[in-house]
Symmetry: C2
């Protein structure tokens, strides 16, 4: 079975009729399942999550572009969340029976078709881009829609596909491939938020820590607990158990222990199974030994 | 989705044509999948593993009885493995969308039908029996086919279903419901087999240890390593991580550490996910957060 997850972010989070039309367009594609969609009015942005095979998610993505470009005009769009396109970003995520390379190829194929069909500049990002400037979504989006024409005037910001200038109402779009994100929080047995912030600085990639960790320290005011809040951006290369052990060790430095951890939203089973293998020191284990996998064969 | 696993043990492990006929009888039932079957000629015994819903596994079990009873005569059967029936034992195991209570009900329903249709005495065992004498298969099987008539003459060994005397060629059969077994071994960083034997004695139920653990100490001669070899008979009530931690602590008593552990054969994903939850101290986790479960909905 081939399963790719696609999580387009659309710059419309207020008009329920538009959002429902976008959801319906995805649902109408045979073989695609819309797992979830949610809108934030203050961000004025909606996130759609659907799954299917390569042909299915491609068709659903193109349908979403068609409806979003007809309904959203960034010249009058206001919202708290940064954005540079009517369809702001489209990541493809390999879930089952698909390699990252296949998702990269799909992102490029969809990018080329979006550019051609809608006359829209397309930037590739994350795994789909070989350009270090375009690995991070934030770097591409910096300046937003309002600064896009000036940004694209520089040769280094020529799009990967499509015209060299922004689409008048839809701006540009960012399409790529990435691993599933895991939102993972660790609550410390302390109300000292400075400890959480120091641990976050120690473990996150941007300040010298683990390659696929984003982290910040927060205070959970209602519980008087300090929290290390994280995004794990590649659980295969920076596994969750290594992050947990590093946080635990750093906390000990301050005489603090881990109270509990929390996974927010969805997690691929492999991310947790690898933790079981690690702690139980299981050798020679294969995914084919998981009863449920055997049943799926 | 309703998935029950059924693992009948048949007293025939030598005649390939008979074994193939039994496998074909299972395969012929719509909605049932034969996952595996293997035969041991010295045991003169074959183990079939198939899955399906309640109606499917019932039909496949009855088909297996029909063919096995026509082909196997215990009066001339010889083999190393103890046995009391042509179809020796039939456990039903709840895998997905089924409770243990539903598997117990299924075991009783199949037991009653086997007794009526084949005029065969049926003993219920494990979760399907309320009689403490009939919880353990070994207790029911003691005396084997050759001693069965004498055993059944005692009132306490009246069958749960069927005639009060053995079937002339097929003996009796044991039908029940149980949790999935996990075959789990821990290799110690030592060649002292006495340490493995002491640890096995400390952790197994029969000598005062954990309720759902069977264990023995062995020497892996080729690697010069002592091994604690275990069967975990209820991974929900005696979880794998607690067994691992207890072995680790007992080993420390002798200055020994754990080199590695090994899962032999299949394991339900929940058994490993619970270990991840335990070691990562994950609070408030739900199986619905597993991406693969969400996709199955």
């Amino acid at each position: 079975m081939q399963i790719i997850e696609c999580i387009p972010n659309v710059s419309e989070g207020r008009r329920a009729d538009v959002i429902e039309r976008l959801a319906a367009a995805v649902r109408a594609v045979a073989g695609v399942r819309l797992l979830d969609y949610s809108s934030d009015p203050s961000h004025n942005r909606s996130v759609f999550t659907f799954v299917g095979d390569a042909a299915g998610v491609k068709a659903a993505t193109l349908a979403l572009f068609e409806h979003a470009l007809a309904a959203v005009d960034l010249r009058t769009h206001r919202g708290e969340h940064p954005r540079l396109g009517a369809v702001d970003v489209v990541p493809f995520v390999p879930i089952e029976g698909q390699t990252m390379q296949e998702c990269v190829a799909l992102a490029r194929e969809v990018g080329a078709e979006v550019a051609a069909r809608f006359n829209l500049p397309v930037f590739l990002y994350e795994e789909a881009s070989d350009n270090p400037l375009r690995k991070n979504l934030e770097d591409i989006r910096r300046g937003e829609f309002e600064g896009l024409a000036a940004k694209m005037a520089a040769a280094e910001w020529a799009p990967d596909f499509g015209p060299a200038v922004p689409h008048p109402s839809a701006g540009a779009t960012v399409i790529g491939a990435r691993m599933p994100l895991i939102a993972y929080n660790i609550n410390l047995n302390t109300d000292r938020v400075d400890v959480a912030k120091k641990i976050a600085a120690a473990i996150r990639h941007s300040s010298g820590g683990l390659r696929y960790v984003k982290a910040a320290g927060f205070m959970l005011e209602d519980r008087r607990l300090a929290q290390v809040s994280m995004n794990l951006t590649n659980y295969q290369k920076t596994p969750i158990f290594r992050v947990f052990e590093m946080v635990k060790r750093e906390a000990e430095r301050y005489g603090v222990s881990i109270l509990e951890s929390e996974i927010v939203g969805l997690v691929p089973s492999a991310a947790l199974l690898s933790a079981a293998e690690y702690y139980l020191q299981i050798e020679g284990f294969s995914a084919q030994q998981i009863l449920e996998n055997k049943l799926k064969e």
